[in-house]
């Protein structure tokens, strides 16, 4: 039995409304996509939705109070809030260089969280 779900494609600013027929996790047909990338997006979004996460972490000894960080790869969508909670517990110390891993293998997902800028000691 296939069921129909609806997604908005976020791959480009056109934002196509996708209608997806799927049998469980198996996508059977995608409609409403103006290009092929929409099909790929529908597959991923239907079976394993993931998001890049950007947030900040408290840092001491730098000219600003927060260090901006990001996941190195997309994280399963339902772990995003948990990740931010975990990052709230961190207290870093300057200096930090862009690309430094601030949390490795976050929540056991295999995804690292890295600094997205360098901060010298103030």
């Amino acid at each position: 039995m296939s069921e129909t779900s609806h997604y908005l494609c976020i791959n480009c600013p056109l934002g196509c409304r996708l209608e997806v027929d799927a049998d469980g996790d198996e996508v059977v047909e995608v409609r409403g996509n103006a290009c092929k990338r929409g099909v790929e997006f529908a597959r991923q979004e239907h079976s394993d939705p993931r998001r890049m996460v950007t947030t900040t972490v408290a840092i001491r000894g730098a000219p600003v109070a927060r260090l901006p960080v990001a996941t190195a790869e997309a994280l399963p969508k339902d772990r995003v809030v948990d990740l931010c909670r975990a990052l709230h517990q961190l207290r870093l110390e300057a200096p930090v260089a862009i690309g430094d891993v601030v949390l490795a293998d976050a929540l056991g997902t295999g995804v690292d969280v890295v600094a997205t800028r360098s901060l010298e000691r103030a």
């Binding site: 056109l14 934002g15 995003v80 809030v81």
Partner: protein, 426 residues
């Protein structure tokens, strides 16, 4: 960041750049490439980078660096180029005034009030956010009402939360991004209220910032009153009719302690105004030539101070050009005079630059009034090109090559974006 301050501020520079955001950084590098030897970039903040330092999300640099960076990442990359070019960077310094003889007066913590003579000046002051006052929301004036961009700086740089229960007026990208940002910081976002019947920001931001966190988006709805004496206690919201008038009998109250206002940016044109450069009534920024020169000799302008950009990549590209123009001007080389004036036509709100030459290739940036898909871009009756879609929230960039204009002999070239006759699918 290393200490970039020169020990003593020289009295004269080839090019002085006002503002150290992406526009200022690119202009400073461009000035060196255009032949300037001594370049000064001034910013009132403690570090260069402009608004990028608070935009910690992804979405920067896909065109310019061929890589999706965050705002701070993009700023850092560009600042490295500034340093490589031996540009003097003066931060914590406010430019008070630029006069027509290109004397720039600066107030800085380090040098007090000084003035610097410049061979050419580039204005790159960015934009300001429209405030509650700009739309006159009635009610009391408690604390807890602020622009979304200010809240973004509080949260992402200073490390403060603006409140505990937040309502957001306006669904532009800044409002959407702040909704997600606050939820991730543990704040409750009670809803986003949008006057228009559609979201103003990109669809990807509606999905990733609101849908993902079940934040309600109320379209055709606006805030009609703010309540609270010391602090915001609640706001009254109401749906609007087709003429955008609130239907007060259907109004309801929303409990919150903070209202973020995200209703658009306007070019910071204060210095341009006192300088008396010609302004475009639509963009409200200066009218500029193909080298981004304003109506005053040797005064160039670029970035959000000219027109509001949604992609920093185009800011960098346009500003590089402005810098090169300024560098060339300061070295005594004038570029070819423009011979074509661009005139916004059907479904085109604005075009930058305002004039071009038929001798070089140009990138022209357009804003449309209405969404169309698919459609055709027309330059007078000499050139046309299919476009997959246009939306008001996204700037359209068009490369205009000399050969497009070979058969054009007028002075004013109309730019139209019209529906495509044979709607074909790609």
């Amino acid at each position: 960041m290393p200490d970039l301050h020169p020990w003593e501020l020289p009295r004269r520079y080839d090019v002085v750049v006002v503002g150290g955001g992406p526009a200022g950084m690119a202009a400073a590098v461009g000035a060196c490439e255009g032949g300037a030897e001594r370049v000064l970039m001034v910013d009132r903040e403690h570090e260069a980078g402009g608004i990028l330092q608070q935009c910690i999300h992804h979405g920067f640099g896909l065109h310019h660096f061929k890589e999706e960076l965050t705002g701070p990442g993009y700023a850092q990359r560009y600042l490295e180029q500034v340093l490589e070019h031996d540009i003097d960077v003066l931060t914590d310094a406010y430019v008070l005034d630029v006069d027509a003889s290109r004397s720039v007066s600066v107030l800085s913590g380090r040098y007090g009030r000084t003035s610097v003579d410049a061979g050419a000046v580039v204005l790159a002051m960015g934009a300001r956010e429209r405030t509650r006052e700009a739309i006159r929301i009635p009610g009391t004036r408690p604390s807890g009402v602020m622009t979304a961009g200010f809240a973004q700086k509080l949260v992402n740089v200073a490390g403060y939360l603006p409140g505990k229960r937040v309502a957001i007026l306006g669904s532009g990208d800044i409002g959407l991004i702040m909704a997600r940002r606050l939820v991730l910081e543990g704040v409750e976002v009670v809803g986003v209220f949008e006057l228009m019947p559609h979201a103003n920001g990109l669809t990807r931001n509606v999905v990733q910032c609101l849908h993902d966190f079940d934040i309600p988006l109320h379209l055709s709805t606006t805030v009609v009153r703010i309540h609270g004496s010391e602090r915001v206690e609640k706001v009254t919201v109401a749906p609007v009719d087709e003429a955008l008038r609130p239907r007060m009998h259907e109004a309801w109250d929303v409990d919150c302690d903070t209202l973020l206002v995200s209703i658009g940016l306007i070019p910071d044109n204060e210095l341009a105004r006192t300088l008396g450069v010609r302004l475009d009534p639509v963009t409200t920024g200066p009218v500029v030539s193909s080298t981004m020169e304003t109506s005053r000799d040797g005064i160039f302008a670029c970035g959000n101070t000219v027109h509001i950009h949604d992609l920093v990549d185009w800011v960098s590209q346009e500003s590089r050009l402005a810098g090169e123009g300024a560098g060339a001007y300061a070295s005594g080389r004038r570029q070819a005079h423009d011979n074509v004036r661009l005139v916004p036509g059907t479904n085109v709100r604005s075009c930058v630059p305002h004039t071009i030459t038929t001798e070089r290739e140009h990138t022209v940036y357009l804003r449309v009034t209405q969404s169309l898909a698919p459609c055709t871009l027309r330059l007078g009756d000499v050139y046309e090109r299919p476009l997959r879609y246009v939306v008001p929230g996204e700037m359209v960039t068009v490369k205009v090559r000399p050969r497009f204009l070979e058969s054009f002999h007028g002075g004013a070239l109309r730019v139209d974006v019209v529906p495509r006759e044979e709607a074909g699918r790609e």
